[in-house]
Symmetry: C2
């Protein structure tokens, strides 16, 4: 039912993108400013970082999203426009004004996003030229799609994009996305961003609810280093051009289909961010099962996922069950040690409060794999969750200790 297609954010009908380099990433000619827009105005929803220290474009975009109607997203990389005071807010506003002018719309319909270095004012002359140039390059070719995915990259090693098609009441609906990581993230090279486009016809409240549900099961379930940035943002624009029967809370089956497709898109993007985490050599899926509540399961998954000792053990390909079990033990959740079972890549290695002896023979080979599945069965309820993370390597320290402000 769900078919992956090419194109990322330009895969849905009616979306075009433009991007260029305006000099925000030093002398290299990498694209650093771009615009995502739609022929028709969009309904829009977005979620932002919960950090108390937020970048200027987040403050601006929060106001835009309250109205729910969006015509375009303007985004730059190379400079986060964070910790830039009043001037920073005016600069974000100016980005919206310049973009609105090019698109014959109003600034209150423009989402603004920035990612890159913190504490430096935006070079507005470069930004201005960049917005004009990006607007003159609008299109929806695969080359456009590739460029916009690269435009939002900072320390990412690979561009991240996806698009899927689903049939909704005999019409074809498409959802596309681009995303960036990569450290989850150095506040100096902030941040996590994901832009999603769709041609679905959908009610605004339903769109908001769908995004919230999908983010809960994707971006809110990943951690690279537990350091939340000042610029995190996930936004979705829906232009209705698929002309499907309107998706709303009352159209349950269509809603379920759309939600499932959106879940797929956000989960693939979330996994791609973890796989491209700073210094990551392994992708780790942590499943906590049998917890008393989902919240308990989440606390334990996060405790395991963020333990530097668990992460270094995985980096060293060591099936260190003691670190995993004890990380679960300090998550602030009541446990019964004797009921816990721990599996690594489906091999049982801890039960009844004791390690399985002799150590299963296939374990060393399993630890060498690039994908590690940790399953903790707590045996005290039905709460469960899945979290994704990566290992902690010397390369992570190198990237982040050798980086200088």
């Amino acid at each position: 039912m769900l078919e992956e297609v090419a194109g990322g954010v330009i895969a849905p009908n009616g979306f075009v993108v433009g991007s260029t380099h305006c000099g925000l990433k030093g002398n290299v000619k990498k694209h650093d400013i771009g615009i995502i827009t739609s022929e028709y105005p969009c309904k829009a929803a977005a979620l932002f970082t919960t950090n108390q220290i937020v970048a200027a474009p987040i403050i601006y975009s929060r106001k835009v999203i309250k109205r729910g109607g969006v015509h375009a997203i303007v985004v730059n990389s190379g400079n986060a426009n964070a910790c830039t005071g009043e001037r920073g807010y005016k600069d974000a506003e100016t980005m919206a004004q310049l973009t609105a002018k090019e698109l014959n719309t109003t600034p209150d319909r423009i989402l603004v996003a920035s990612t890159g270095i913190i504490g430096h004012p935006l070079p507005m002359q470069k930004i201005k030229k960049g917005i004009i140039k990006a607007s003159n390059s609008f299109g929806n070719t695969q080359s456009h799609a590739a460029h916009i995915a690269k435009t939002i990259m900072t320390t990412d090693l690979a561009p991240k994009h996806i698009a899927v098609k689903i049939p909704i009441a005999k019409k074809e609906v498409t959802i596309g996305a681009i995303a960036k990581g990569s450290g989850m993230i150095s506040p100096n090279m902030a941040t996590m961003i994901c832009f999603i486009t769709t041609d679905a016809e959908i009610s605004l409240n339903t769109l908001r609810s769908c995004l919230k549900h999908s983010v809960e099961k994707s971006f809110n379930q990943i951690t690279v280093d537990g350091h939340m940035s000042t610029n995190d943002m996930v936004a979705i624009l829906a232009n209705g051009m698929a002309r499907n029967k309107n998706i709303s809370f009352s159209s349950k089956s269509e809603l379920a289909l759309f939600q499932k497709a959106l879940d797929h898109v956000t989960q693939q993007m979330a996994k791609a961010i973890v796989k491209d985490g700073e210094g990551a050599s392994k992708f780790v899926q942590i499943e906590v099962l049998g917890a008393k509540t989902i919240l308990d399961a989440k606390k334990i998954a996060r405790s395991v996922a963020e333990s530097p000792l668990v992460k270094t053990a995985i980096n060293g390909e060591d099936p260190n069950w003691g670190r995993i079990v004890s990380a679960a033990g300090y998550a602030g959740v009541k446990l019964e040690e004797s009921k816990i079972k721990l599996f690594i890549n489906k091999t049982l290695i801890f039960k009844n409060g004791l390690p399985v002896t002799p150590t299963p023979k296939n374990l060393p080979d399993q630890m060498k794999k690039e994908e590690i599945l940790i399953q903790l069965q707590l045996g005290i309820g039905n709460g469960e969750t899945t979290m994704w993370t990566c290992d902690l390597s010397k390369e992570y320290i190198k990237i982040n200790a050798d980086y200088h402000t």
Copy 2:
């Protein structure tokens, strides 16, 4: 008033120690089992790990401490007796029985502590011989003091001990301690331990309260990697041999003196653990000032202290204010960005929501120092706290990724 003296746990009157090697640390002839005891029975208080997964000796010692009367502590390194099931508990009980027999007392007056590898049963034949041999070596020379401090070490690079004398109502009271780290800590090479002895005459409830206060301001304020172990334990024995006027809640000035001395002992031990943290090259003191409440201040201090990005920046000697301020921002505490001031080694580097420009000239030299003081003034209240941590280095990854179970 407060004078540091030699001897660690044997500095107070009436305490003797014995230790030996019984073969728990492989073939090296390092001391791995020891006993701390007193001529006279002691009042005792202790605090234990809050991890839900706890080692057998912790379960045993919790029962002993409820009664409040203790004659000795028996401790081994090289094996944590954790995740060892029912057999583990019986082994801890046997350690108490063997020690009690040597000391002509009852097992319910023996605290048991173990530290080392998780998930392996104790080799009880070796332990038995060790306890007998250690009992036959009791003494209170400086050589005894040095040996007992080394006996509890696992991956620690240096032994940790301290003793202080204070006058209480014209009598000389002494408090001594030994402690071990060092990773805060690999659950496989668990754990944090601190044993404190004193010849003070003090009421049991007062002793319990004093220990709780001191630990709150010392061991509960340190973090190396945020991974809480299964074996953490801080215990104090008071034998009353200083024959001072009894310290109780009603003798306010004596109580204050004793509390101050105990604070000094625990803080010095806590700092020593951080300085010897796995891979640590810098000692970092984080002071959060002007928070709405002390709890808010603690949340922020911990968020900064445990951010891998802050820790790697300090390792790289980079004054990365963006990482510090944004780590404060995601601590789950409401902040006013414009009111925050950040100082590194007393140099102001961030205020009014902006970095101080130009960057203060002395900053690069300050970052090269071995001790880094981070002060975050939030400007919204009177809550404050101090926390100690270390940097995160490639050496930490090496120690913990190359370690194999």
